[in-house]
């Protein structure tokens, strides 16, 4: 088990969003999380990554308790998080974004890792010297995904990588995620609204509704989209 979550309760201020979630992820697994907005998907990722202090419950990473640990230690231990929306530094160039994201590592590693990112996303190499804020929406998303790879994470939390992208670009980004999983054998917890893409990428699925897990298990490829409305 790379990640075990036991009875996690959390939220913002006095707003309780997560009402006791428990699930686990195996090595190399891709788990899709779906549920409507406000169901608590983003809150879950933030609580797991240490951006929000969990109120109750336990988070185990490779059997170590990491409940409430700060993001900087999590990053060093190989956990990465891609936030929703603009997960990059718009005023820095593409290359600078990559450099910053493997802060504390030496030049050689930087070169190797950015090469990995460029292999996955060749377009970024072409735009190396461009300010990240001037990239197109799809390129920005690739950039964000690329940034999470710089510490060669074994566990990745991706928050809506398809958000706001054109269908064609969504396909592309999802293929990249499949490729990442294939190449680095890492575990990915994916929050997505785009169910078709979740089906393509994830082996397991968690459905969250009102801060509780209402379904979790193997994803049935025959599951029809229209049936999903009941979870939304």
């Amino acid at each position: 088990m790379i990640l075990e979550v036991k009875n996690l309760v959390g939220g913002y201020q006095n707003k309780r969003v997560l009402h006791g979630l428990s699930f686990s992820m195996g090595d190399g697994e891709v788990v899709g999380t779906i549920g409507h907005n406000g169901a608590g998907k983003t809150t879950l990722l933030k609580s797991l990554f240490g951006l929000l202090p969990p109120w109750e419950g336990q988070i185990l990473f490779r059997s170590h308790d990491i409940t409430g640990r700060k993001p900087d230690s999590n990053v060093k231990e190989g956990i990465a998080y891609m936030p929703q929306g603009q997960g990059l530094f718009p005023d820095l160039t593409v290359m600078e974004n990559l450099e910053i994201s493997c802060f504390g590592l030496d030049r050689k590693t930087l070169k190797k890792r950015s090469q990995q990112v460029f292999e996955l996303f060749p377009i970024l190499e072409e735009r190396k010297r461009q300010r990240a804020g001037t990239l197109s929406g799809g390129e920005q998303r690739m950039m964000s995904v690329g940034l999470t790879l710089m510490h060669e994470p074994t566990l990745m939390f991706l928050d809506e990588p398809s958000l706001g992208l054109a269908p064609r670009i969504v396909q592309l980004v999802m293929e990249n995620i499949i490729e990442i999983n294939r190449r680095f054998k890492n575990s990915i917890l994916l929050v997505e609204q785009n169910f078709e893409q979740v089906k393509r990428v994830a082996g397991k699925i968690i459905v969250i509704k009102l801060g509780q897990i209402v379904f979790s298990g193997i994803l049935d490829p025959a599951l029809d989209k229209r049936e999903l409305w009941k979870y939304f």
């Binding site: 406000g38 609204q193 989209k225």
Partner: protein, 581 residues
């Protein structure tokens, strides 16, 4: 004896300065650095007029207030526009300029030498010249200023000020012209400070620019911070403590120059220590330490998520919604035509055309980033559309500011609620009441009867709205202490109190658990009976299905489909878009 009287007089002067500054900084949250400049302008105006024209000192005070008011207005208009920092910088610059003028316009002010021979005031034929005679005069004025401030703060006008301090955007959305309120209070505070200036000049009979430096502004900061920001008695207590400390230092056996420095150091240290350890001052008051995201709340607030169900809402609220149910407009109440809005190349809303019929509940759904909230912001005037028009009840509202649109009858809720956390539940609702005579600063002093009558009515109404959502027993609690579910209901009550006939709800069900949610549905559905039209943005389909008559499906800033919930949810192509293909 005279010495003690002198101390009392100085306390009165600083109390006036503190009281007036408290209006600006404490109640409204505007950071101004030029209160000493207002003090100076009042002092010099009155002194010069009395010295050169033998004017009566009462007229001098009035003249000082007018001149100060005009100058503060000229500063406020450009500075109170975009950001709080602008006011800090502008007022700091004004302070420096006033000082420079006092130092350098020698023909008028006699520069650094100062102005001497200022006549002692005479009132009703009595010459006031001894400290013993000054004390009642000063206390009289301090009392008047205190009462004026008390009245301002406890009037509907003051309630709006506190709301502005808590959340400007929410205040604007409730139909208040935030900028006008800010400018009014800035000018009023300045004019009241001028009174202290005039009194100071006539008491001391000698003034020089050295009396009105930035150190004096800082002293005034200290006065209200020691006593307690946004506390009516705070400035009085602060003035008492500071003036006493100031004078006590005089008795220590050190040279006078050192005493001067020691005083300043004491003020500085007081400011730092109070900010670190007791930011609310001795008496408490304003919100110095608001709760921030990520702070772990105390467990009682967390556990207490359930709330009593607001059963039988309709029966108890007769009379509450009558005003709202004007004549039904047969055609559409709200009409958006070809509305677009871009954010840096991203088309958030793109040629969107929607009609909302009077008296229906419409659900607005669509995948994330479809432009739903942006659309709300356009309708309510927080964004102006780049193309197209928005008509409400036949009137073009595309170019109107947010508060005007609320007046016309559109009100919206916010995803993050934006309640006024440090105000009571009842006050939260009271702020939202439209057409309050007491929100006009001048009427607040002239139409006592009418205002108290209105207040009574509004209170009753506000309690009615709270009853409607089932919060009437929490009316006197601070909004920040409510559980999230209760806050959500409060935001609904606040919204209804605006008497708007079109209500825009942004994710009313998010963050609520099943039970609370089920209590909420009938409440919202009932509203239509009272003449409301409702538009809901919501991701929880259960909520949409339970509440909405019709669904508008939005994608990439455009209306893609419209129909009953069942129609929409059966359409394969919409599921395709919502869940991706």
């Amino acid at each position: 004896m005279d010495y003690i009287l002198h101390i009392l007089i100085m306390i009165a002067i600083y109390a006036i300065l503190g009281l007036s500054f408290n209006l600006i900084l404490g109640y409204t949250g505007l950071i101004s650095m030029c209160h000493a400049a207002f003090f100076a302008i009042g002092a010099y105006t009155s002194a010069l007029l009395c010295v050169h024209f033998g004017m009566n000192f009462l007229l001098g005070i009035v003249a000082g207030m007018i001149v100060t008011g005009v100058i503060s207005l000229l500063v406020a208009i450009p500075a109170i526009r975009v950001r709080d920092e602008y006011l800090i910088v502008t007022t700091l610059a004004l302070l420096m300029i006033v000082y420079t003028v006092l130092m350098n316009w020698i023909d008028l002010t006699r520069g650094a030498a100062g102005l001497s021979g200022i006549p002692r005031p005479s009132l009703l034929g009595y010459q006031i010249s001894t400290p013993a005679a000054f004390v009642p005069l000063l206390f009289g004025f301090a009392g008047i200023v205190f009462l004026a401030c008390w009245r301002i703060v406890h009037s509907p006008f003051g309630r709006v000020l506190r709301a502005i301090r808590e959340d400007e955007v929410a205040t604007e959305s409730l139909g208040k012209n935030v900028r006008a309120f800010k400018i009014w209070i800035f000018v009023t505070g300045g004019a009241l400070a001028a009174i202290a200036g005039s009194l100071f000049a006539h008491y001391m009979t000698y003034i020089s620019p050295a009396n009105f430096t930035i150190n004096d502004t800082i002293l005034i900061f200290a006065v209200i911070i020691i006593g307690g920001v946004a506390n009516s008695w705070g400035p009085v207590v602060g003035a008492f403590i500071l003036v006493s400390v100031m004078e006590a230092l005089r008795f220590m056996e050190i040279s006078p120059t050192i005493v001067g420095f020691a005083r300043q150091i004491a003020y500085g240290a007081i400011l730092i220590l109070f900010m670190c350890f007791r930011p609310q001052g001795f008496l408490g008051g304003g919100p110095a330490y608001p709760k921030k995201e990520g702070e772990i709340p105390d467990s009682s607030a967390r556990k207490n998520e359930r709330l009593s169900s607001p059963e039988g809402a309709g029966s108890r609220v007769s009379g509450l919604f009558q005003e709202a149910s004007g004549p039904r407009i047969s055609k559409s109440l709200l009409r958006l035509k070809g509305v677009s809005k871009n954010f840096g190349g991203l088309k958030a809303v793109n040629q969107c055309t929607i009609d909302l019929a009077d008296g229906e509940i419409v659900g607005l759904i669509g995948p994330n980033g479809a432009g739903k909230t942006t659309l709300f912001n356009i309708i309510t005037g927080f964004y102006s559309p780049e193309t197209g028009s928005v008509h409400f009840a036949g009137k073009d509202i595309s170019a109107l500011p947010a508060h005007r649109i609320t007046h016309l009858g559109i009100a919206r809720s916010f995803q993050n609620l934006r309640l006024f956390h440090n105000m009571t539940v009842l006050d939260n609702v009271l702020v939202a009441r439209p057409r309050q005579t007491g929100e006009n600063l001048i009427w607040a002093f002239l139409r006592f009867g009418q205002i108290s009558r209105e207040e009574r009515e509004n209170r009753e109404k506000a309690r009615g709205y709270l009853k409607f959502v089932g919060l009437d027993d929490k009316a006197d609690e601070l909004a920040g202490n409510l559980s999230y579910a209760e806050q959500k209901l409060l935001s609904l009550a606040r919204l209804l109190a605006t008497e708007a006939r079109l209500i825009l709800l942004d994710e009313p069900a998010s963050g609520l658990d099943q039970m609370v949610m089920e209590n909420l549905f009938p409440l919202v559905k009932d509203l239509v009976k009272y003449g409301k039209t409702i538009c809901i943005v919501e991701h929880n389909m259960e909520v949409i299905r339970a509440m909405a008559d019709e669904i508008v499906f939005l994608n990439e800033g455009q209306v893609l489909a419209r129909g009953t919930p069942d129609q929409i949810m059966k359409a394969p192509e919409l599921a395709e878009i919502y869940f991706g293909g």
